[in-house]
């Protein structure tokens, strides 16, 4: 599979995402925020970092990039799209995922290893992760508290759009219903706050992230 990894001014983890995707068996290229031509690309990753310095609102300015218009079309056509941390924020701002991310309850930036429990969502990203599977992934963010107004939250839950929850007792930021990641209704777009691209090398102590990155290739059309 050929992956496009978006790059905005201020993106930080784009090369880490490329590295992870390559370890999972794909080829990658960076997609500059001004590009709109995604031909030849089988999947999109919107990486972590501080696009536009998190100015105005996390992910807000990046959500208007020309590349994001192309990503919206790509997603509408069913292509797999993954948003990690800032990428999750951008996808929410762009309306491709339900909800919003707010400042951590403790207001501080946190970086630590933690456990996620896979939810009931059906998604090409989760083809190797059955519901209930636990994975060890680093959490690192300052604006990761998942929020959706009551009706939207009910819909996310009842439509099986919860991709991951923080393991019991490990919610680091006050996210509603311990939600760490969600999908869109069709399941091809998935966003999560923790960083699977930092759990792909044995020397970090966990390679669970690879199971997420290998997902779409496992169901490739």
């Amino acid at each position: 599979m050929i992956w496009g990894v978006l790059q905005f001014p201020g993106s930080c983890d784009e090369r880490d995402a490329q590295h992870a995707l390559e370890l999972a068996g794909g080829e990658t290229r960076l997609v500059w925020h001004e590009e709109t031509d995604l031909s030849g690309i089988d999947g999109i990753v919107v990486p972590g970092g501080f696009s536009y310095g998190d100015y105005l609102r996390v992910g807000a300015i990046a959500s208007f990039a020309p590349a994001m218009n192309a990503v919206a079309d790509f997603a509408a056509a069913g292509g797999p799209v993954l948003g990690i941390c800032n990428g999750f924020q951008v996808l929410c701002e762009a309306g491709l995922l339900p909800g919003a991310l707010l400042t951590n309850e403790g207001t501080r930036f946190i970086c630590r290893q933690g456990d996620l429990i896979t939810g009931d969502a059906e998604s090409p990203w989760l083809s190797e992760l059955a519901p209930g599977t636990s994975i060890s992934i680093p959490f690192k963010h300052q604006t990761g508290r998942y929020f959706a107004p009551p009706e939207m939250l009910d819909a996310v839950e009842s439509n099986n759009q919860v991709a991951f929850r923080y393991a019991p007792g490990q919610n680091p930021n006050g996210s509603l219903n311990d939600i760490a990641g969600v999908t869109n209704e069709a399941g091809n777009v998935l966003g999560l706050m923790p960083h699977p691209e930092h759990a792909v090398e044995a020397f970090t102590g966990s390679t669970d992230g690879l199971r997420l990155f290998r997902g779409p290739a496992g169901v490739a059309v």
Binding site: P9, F50, I110
Partner: protein, 727 residues
């Protein structure tokens, strides 16, 4: 007061300036002299001393005098690194002071053409019992996190200490490590008459006018709120764009030379580039992109607005350079030209505003000799914080909970220590940070270690100890040191006691580096860290980078149930200068002499043992002595230990308390299979089996005394710091 005195120049210095210029300097010229002849820029009181440091070695690619030092890491790649202080600004505005301190050291590494891959910080504050100290600690840690995290550069290590002499003068020393292709690194020297000078990055505003340099040349007085307007504000998003811009410019070979703008802004960057190249330089302030339209020429020349770089570019390449800056959404402009006049000329829209001979400005500052006098007694005072009836177990818990010793995870959790996918050992996880360098098929290790209290007791020995500790930390992850950077934080060098501390410390650093065969490739000096109540502890902070062949054999593992525990090295413990002595209020002058050779042998033995993969648990004994280290190791794994220090007492004829809580260089605790440990014997390094890993208690016997604490109790003490900071 005469203008020159207001700007920090002495009458003699002013006379010398008039002599060199053959006239009185005008306002712009005087402002420029006052900055470049300040202690911070000219190293007036330290330059003569620093000439003694060893700076050469087979792996050195860039030495002192360039933007940062660099060592060859193999396969065509080099590792660049440097440490710098931002003490005074952090005491005035901790968040921005620390943030811009990080930004500044990043730019030094970026200016070399390297991509930063790690940050470490050495921080020192007063005790946590004041609101102000808690405010400083909180602000500094948030500031470091803010800048490093936003740039996507991991903060992988550091240290935090709390001692009364730093209460009014906190220390914030930031170290950056970067990677570059050896033949693509760029020097700072301007070259080529007729070449253009390009400024890019943030617009220039009034940040820090009269800022870092001036603050660093004068002691802090009461009521420093009025200095707040001169503090610089950092924008890490801008710097991340500047970094990518620099990498692209250098990757396309578009620059003759590159320099970052730091203290004294355009004046020092342009001046130093010209001095290094032996050229003259013309700068037209009318061409500088400004944030505020009505800035005076002198303001533009001394502004310390952050995130700016200066480049020398051949005329044919200028358009390409400006185009790349535009792509990265960063302001840029041609603001001057390299000349052959030997003069630094300042123009405004073509009109001459000032003219100074480059060598007078950059190298003409008088260098001063120090007048060292050894103090007859301990000048720093003492506080009793330990109950005089405390038995060994209570002492053990008290030391674990001491602010300087307790877990710093509260701070490390606020730093992204994993971005970049190189981090093998995260901040706080092992004695040194380890980063994978697949480009060169190996890993590097980094440690930053300073000492104030012990150096105050004996500057020569204390500085040797700090250097040895840094090398010992690297050994615990299997790394061999390649080079040293250092930041020397001292009080007012014009005072005889501080002069003595500084001279002795540099002599100690020289001795240790020569004995270890390590070159000093760069560093920083921060003087005048002093208030009316006295100087800080003399605090040399040592940063070291080393290499190891295999990141999978880099120690850092917790010990395991039934492992054997051994003490390795010449470790001859004493309570002199120790954390226990501090808590008893008994600190004084003097430390035992240090015999470097056996410590060096132990360091090499431990390094090889870890590299072989046979020993996966190795830690060096430092603050709080053996008992404290054993307790920390028990907490790391959840399993306690049962050991006896009888061999230590017998070998060194020391007291029971010395054995339990004494400190000294050259002590390592290793844990593993008995066979693996015994195989290390017979190589001339002292190895003593102390006992086994087992149970839920830390039991340390020393003659009639013994420590017996539950691992759970140790945990509560060791994890008590956050409560004190967020009180």
């Amino acid at each position: 007061m005469a203008k020159h005195r207001e700007l920090g120049l002495t009458d003699d210095e002013f006379e010398l300036i008039k002599q060199k210029m053959d006239r009185e300097p005008n306002a712009v010229e005087l402002a420029m002299f006052s900055l470049l002849w300040s202690e911070h820029c000219a190293y007036k009181h330290s330059r003569k001393l620093l000439k003694n440091l060893p700076t050469e070695g087979p792996r050195v690619v860039m030495g002192p005098g360039e933007n940062a030092g660099a060592v060859d890491i193999g396969n065509g790649w080099s590792i660049a690194f440097k440490v710098e202080s931002h003490n005074h600004p952090s005491a005035v505005e901790p968040f921005q002071g620390a943030a811009t301190g990080v930004g500044g050291i990043l730019r030094d590494v970026i200016a070399l053409g390297a991509r930063p891959i790690a940050i470490l910080d050495s921080l020192r504050f007063g005790e946590l019992d004041t609101e102000r100290t808690r405010y400083l600690v909180d602000g500094v840690v948030r500031g470091i996190g803010h800048y490093g995290n936003s740039m996507g550069i991991p903060t992988v290590g550091g240290e935090i200490y709390f001692e009364p002499p730093y209460e009014q003068n906190c220390l914030v020393n930031a170290m950056c490590v970067g990677i570059a292709r050896t033949d693509e690194m760029v020097r700072a020297a301007a070259a080529g008459t007729g070449n253009m000078v390009v400024l890019f990055g943030s617009k220039t505003g009034r940040d820090g006018i009269g800022g870092a340099s001036v603050l660093a040349s004068a002691e802090l007085e009461e009521g420093d709120a009025s200095k707040r307007p001169t503090v610089q504000i950092g924008d890490p998003f801008e710097e991340s764009k500047v970094l990518e811009c620099c990498q692209e410019l250098l990757g396309n070979d578009l620059l003759v030379s590159l320099q970052d703008l730091g203290a004294a802004g355009l004046t020092s960057s342009a001046g130093e580039m010209a001095a290094a190249g032996g050229t003259g330089i013309d700068i037209d302030v009318g061409l500088v992109p400004l944030r505020e339209a009505d800035m005076e020429p002198f303001e533009i020349m001394v502004s310390e607005s952050q995130e700016r770089m200066l480049a020398v570019v051949t005329p044919e390449m200028v358009d390409d350079v400006l185009a790349i800056c535009t792509k990265w959404q960063t302001d840029s402009a041609v603001i001057g030209e390299v000349t052959d006049t030997g003069d630094f000329r300042i123009l405004r829209n073509g009109e001459l505003e000032g003219e100074i001979a480059v060598d007078a400005l950059v190298d003409g500052c008088p260098l001063y000799d120090l007048d060292p006098v050894e103090p007859s007694e301990w000048i720093y005072g003492n506080n009793v914080t330990l109950d005089e009836n405390a038995g060994p177990s209570e002492i053990a818990l008290s030391l674990l909970g001491a602010s300087s010793i307790a877990s710093k995870q509260w701070a490390y959790d606020q730093y992204d220590s994993i971005v970049g996918s190189r981090t093998v050992h995260r901040a706080g996880a092992a004695d040194a940070a380890v980063l994978d360098i697949p480009e060169s098929d190996r890993a590097i290790a980094i440690s930053i270690d300073g000492n104030g209290r012990r150096v105050a007791g004996a500057p020569f020995q204390g500085t040797i100890e700090a250097t040895l500790e840094c090398a010992a930390n690297l050994a615990c992850v299997g790394a061999e040191p390649l080079g040293v950077t250092n930041c020397l934080n001292f009080g007012n060098p014009e005072k005889p006691t501080v002069a003595w501390q500084l001279s002795q410390s540099v002599l100690g650093l020289t001795e240790a580096c020569e004995a270890l065969g390590l070159p000093v490739v760069g560093g920083n000096v921060s003087l005048y860290n002093e208030t009316p109540s006295g100087p800080i502890y003399p605090t040399p902070v040592i940063g070291m980078v080393g290499e190891l062949p295999d990141p999978f054999k880099s120690g850092g593992q917790p010990w395991e149930d039934s492992n054997w525990v051994a003490l390795v090295g010449p470790f001859n413990p004493s309570l002199a200068g120790s954390e226990l002595e501090k808590s008893r209020g008994q600190l004084g002058q003097g430390l035992p002499d240090v015999d470097i050779a056996p410590v060096k042998a132990a360091i090499e033995l431990v390094r090889d043992a870890v590299r072989s993969g046979k020993i996966r648990t190795a830690r060096d004994v430092s603050d709080g002595g053996i008992t404290t280290l054993l307790s920390e190791m028990a907490l790391d794994s959840g399993v306690g230990c049962d050991v006896s220090l009888a061999p230590v007492i017998a070998l060194h004829d020391c007291s029971e308390e010395d054995a339990l809580f004494g400190e000294a260089p050259g002590g390592f605790i290793l844990a593993g299979d008995r066979k693996a440990i015994e195989e290390l014997g017979g190589k001339g390094v002292q190895i003593e089996l102390l006992g086994r890993v087992e149970g839920n208690e830390v039991k340390v016997a020393a003659g009639e005394s013994s420590v017996e604490i539950l691992v759970a109790e140790a945990k509560a003490a060791f994890e008590s710091l956050p409560h004190r900071i967020e009180a």
